[in-house]
Amino acid sequence: MTTTVTSPAPAAPPRPRRRNPLRGRGLQAYTILLVAWLVLPVAVMILFGFNDTHSKQNFQWEGFTLKWYARLFEKKDLTTALVNSLTIALLTTVFATVLGTLVGLALGRYRFRGQGVANLVMFAAISCPELVMGASLLSMFVALETPRGYLTILAAHVMFSVSFVAITVRARAVGLDPRIEEAAKDLGAGPLTTFRLVTLPMIMPGVVSGAMLAFALSVDDFIITNFTSGATQTFPLWVWSSTRTGTPPQVNVMGTLIFAVGVLLAVVNIAASRRRARNT
C-alpha cells in the first residue's frame, strides 16, 4: 500500500541577506560624518600651522607657508613650556608605569588584607573630578608649605596616572594562569627570574597600554597642572594664557608634531599587536 503524503509546500529557502541600499548609504554617511567630526578640529589645527598670518591672531587664512616650522623654537618661553611638558610626561610615564604595574599585579594576582580598600582608592582617584583633585592638591601643598613648581606637577601627574596603569595591568594579571609562574619556579627560576622571564612578558600588553595612557594623560593635563604649577609653565598652560593675547602659529605646529608622534605610536602599537596575534 502506498500512501501519498502531501507535504506542505517546501519552505522557501532562507533569503540571501540583501543589504538595504538606503540603510547602507545612511550608515556610510553617518560614518563619514562621525569621522569628520573627530578629525575636523585636528585638521584645522594642522592647517593653521601653515598659515602665513601677519596679525597676532591666527584665525584668518592668509596663504601657505612653512616659516612657522622653521621658526618653531623662536619663542623661548613656549619652548621651555613644551620641554617641561614632555619631560614631565616622560618621567610620569616611567614612575607611574613601574608603580602602577606593581599595584596592578598585586591587585590582580593575590588576595590580601586591604585589597578592597586599595581597589576603592584606585577607582576614587580615577573618578574624582580633576577640579576637586587639583584644588585639594593645592591646599595640601600650601598647608605643607611645599613650593609649587616642576616637582609638584610631576608628583601630581604620577599620582593620577598610577591608577590608570594599575587598572590596565590588573585586567591583564587577573587572566594569568598562576600555574604558569609555578611552572617557571618548578623549572628552577627564582622569584625575580620568574618575574623577568615569565610574568612581565605576559602582562606586557597591559603595561604598554598603561604607559601610553599615562603619557597621554600627563602631556595635555591642564586643570591639575594649573593648580600645582606655581610659576612653572607647561605647554597647555602656556597655550591657555596665550589665548588672551593671541596664540602664535608655533602652537599649531607643536600640536601637529605631538599629534603626529601620537598617531605614529598608535600605528606601531596596532602593528605590534597584529604581529603578536599572528604569532600566538
Binding site: E182, K185, L187
Partner: protein, 398 residues
C-alpha cells in the same frame, strides 16, 4: 655534566640505592585556614615511592591527592610531617631548588616562548652549556615525537602536542622524579588512551620515577606499578593495581575502583580462616578473612565481589562456595558480554558480567529466580576488626 644542583648523589640513578626511596612522606599533614575555619586537606600520609616506580595517587576530587603532590613539588609546605627526596628532608626548600619537575593539568606552557625555549627553560636556569642544551632538547623532543616543531608557539599546537611539550619540558631536566597532575585530563578519550601508552613507554625509556595524580581509575590501573587510593585526606589502600582491584581493603576502595557488589550479612560460623554468613532464606556466603581481620558468630560483615566473578545458575549450586538467591531485574546484552542486574532477598542490587563465550542461549531472563554463585577466594570481607587499613607496609619497590 654541568649540574649545579646542590644535592650530591645525582648521576647515579641506578638501582643500587633502591633502599633509599626516591620520595618518602612521613606523617604529612596539610590544613588550610579558610574563612576562619581550619580545613584539613591531607590528614596524615605515609608513603615510600621507589626509584623508577610508576606510582599513582588515585582518588576523587578533594581527596588531597593534588595537595600531596604539591607538597612534594614544594608549592605547599606541610603543616606537619616531613617530605624526603632521596633520603634528604626538603622542608623549607623552595620549589625552584627541588630536584623534581611537574607536569601541570593545564600544561602551563609559556605562551610567549617557542617550543624550544619552553623545553630549554629549565636547562638555561641551571646554566647548562648552549650546545648541550641544543643536544638535550633535540633528544627529548625526539622521544616525545615533536622533532621539527621547535619554532612553534604553544598556541599553534593541538592539545596532545602541548601535553607532550609539557612532558618534554619537565623530562629534559632529568629530574629525580616527575610529578604529573592529571596530565591527560584535558584530552579527549582516544588521545588520552594513546597518551597512556605513550607515557608508559616514555617512563620505561627514561627510567625516572613517575608520581601520577588522577581521578581516573582506569588510567591508574593500566599505567601504575603501585597505586595509593586516597579519600578524605588519607590513603585508603596502597598496592599493585591487581591487589587494589581484586582485594579492595575498604568499602570506599571497593566502590571507587571498578564496579563492585557489596553484600552484608551476619556471621554464623567460622571454618578455618573462612567466615560463613547466612544470606536470605537459604543462601550463604563464604568469605576468607585476611590475617588482620577477626570476626565471630553474630558479627555483621560486608563482602565485596566483582561482577565478573559471579556466575548465574538456575539451581542452588552444590559445594562449599557462596550461593545467594536473587531475581533478575534487568538484562543488558553488550555483544561480547551480558550484564545482569539482579536483586537479592534484602533488596540489594548486584551486577553480574557474563562473557558470551560458549553459551548461545541466554542464561536467564528478566523476572527469573536464579542463584548467584562464586568461589570464596573471589570475595573479600570489609570491616571485621582492621577497618582502617592505612598505608600498608610498602612492598619492595617494583
Amino acid at each position: 655534566m654541568t649540574d649545579t644542583s646542590p644535592a650530591p648523589v645525582r648521576d647515579d640513578p641506578g638501582r643500587a640505592d633502591t633502599a633509599v626511596p626516591a620520595i618518602e612522606l612521613a606523617g604529612v599533614r596539610k590544613s588550610y585556614v579558610s574563612h576562619g575555619e581550619t580545613v584539613a586537606a591531607v590528614r596524615g600520609v605515609d608513603l615510600r615511592i621507589g626509584q623508577g616506580e610508576f606510582f599513582s595517587l588515585l582518588g576523587p576530587s578533594g581527596c588531597g591527592k593534588t595537595t600531596t603532590m604539591r607538597m612534594i613539588a614544594g608549592f605547599e609546605e606541610p603543616t606537619a610531617g616531613e617530605v624526603y627526596l632521596h633520603g634528604q628532608s626538603v622542608t623549607g626548600v623552595p620549589a625552584n631548588k627541588r630536584d623534581v619537575n611537574m607536569v601541570f593539568q593545564s600544561y602551563a606552557l609559556f605562551p610567549h616562548m617557542s617550543v624550544f625555549e619552553n623545553v630549554a627553560f629549565g636547562l638555561r636556569r641551571r646554566g647548562v652549556a648552549k650546545n648541550e642544551i641544543r643536544q638535550r632538547v633535540g633528544d627529548i623532543l625526539e622521544i616525545v615525537d615533536l622533532t621539527g616543531r621547535e619554532k612553534r608557539r604553544p598556541s599553534e599546537m593541538s592539545g596532545g602536542q602541548q601535553q607532550r611539550v609539557a612532558l618534554a619540558r619537565a623530562l629534559v631536566n632529568r629530574p629525580r622524579a616527575l610529578l604529573l597532575d592529571e596530565p591527560l585530563g584535558a584530552l579527549d578519550l582516544k588521545l588520552r588512551q594513546a597518551m597512556q601508552v605513550e607515557l608508559k613507554r616514555i617512563q620505561r625509556e627514561v627510567g625516572i620515577t613517575f608520581v601520577y595524580v588522577t581521578h581516573d581509575q582506569g588510567e591508574a590501573l593500566t599505567m601504575s606499578d603501585r597505586i595509593a587510593v586516597m579519600n578524605d585526606g588519607l590513603v585508603e589502600q596502597l598496592g599493585s593495581p591487581r591487589e587494589i582491584y581484586e582485594r579492595p581493603a575498604t568499602k570506599f576502595v571497593a566502590g571507587f575502583i571498578g564496579t563492585s557488589n557489596l553484600l552484608s550479612g551476619t556471621v554464623t560460623e567460622l571454618s578455618g580462616r573462612d567466615a560463613v554468613l547466612s544470606y536470605g532464606d537459604d543462601g550463604r556466603i563464604v568469605v576468607p578473612l585476611r590475617e588482620d581481620q577477626t570476626a565471630g558468630a553474630g558479627d555483621a560483615l560486608e563482602v565485596t565481589v566483582r561482577p565478573e566473578k559471579i556466575e548465574i545458575v538456575g539451581e542452588r549450586p552444590a559445594g562449599g562456595g557462596s550461593a545467594v538467591p536473587a531475581t533478575v531485574a534487568e538484562v543488558v546484552y553488550l555483544g561480547t558480554s551480558t550484564n545482569y542486574l539482579v536483586t537479592t532477598a534484602d533488596g540489594t542490587e548486584v551486577t553480574v558480567f557474563m562473557q558470551n563465550a560458549n553459551n548461545s542461549d541466554d542464561v536467564a531472563e528478566r523476572g527469573d529466580r536464579v542463584w548467584l554463585a562464586w568461589e570464596p577466594r573471589h570475595s573479600y570481607a570489609i570491616g571485621g576488626g582492621a577497618n582502617g587499613v592505612r598505608g600498608d607496609a610498602p612492598k619492595a619497590a617494583v
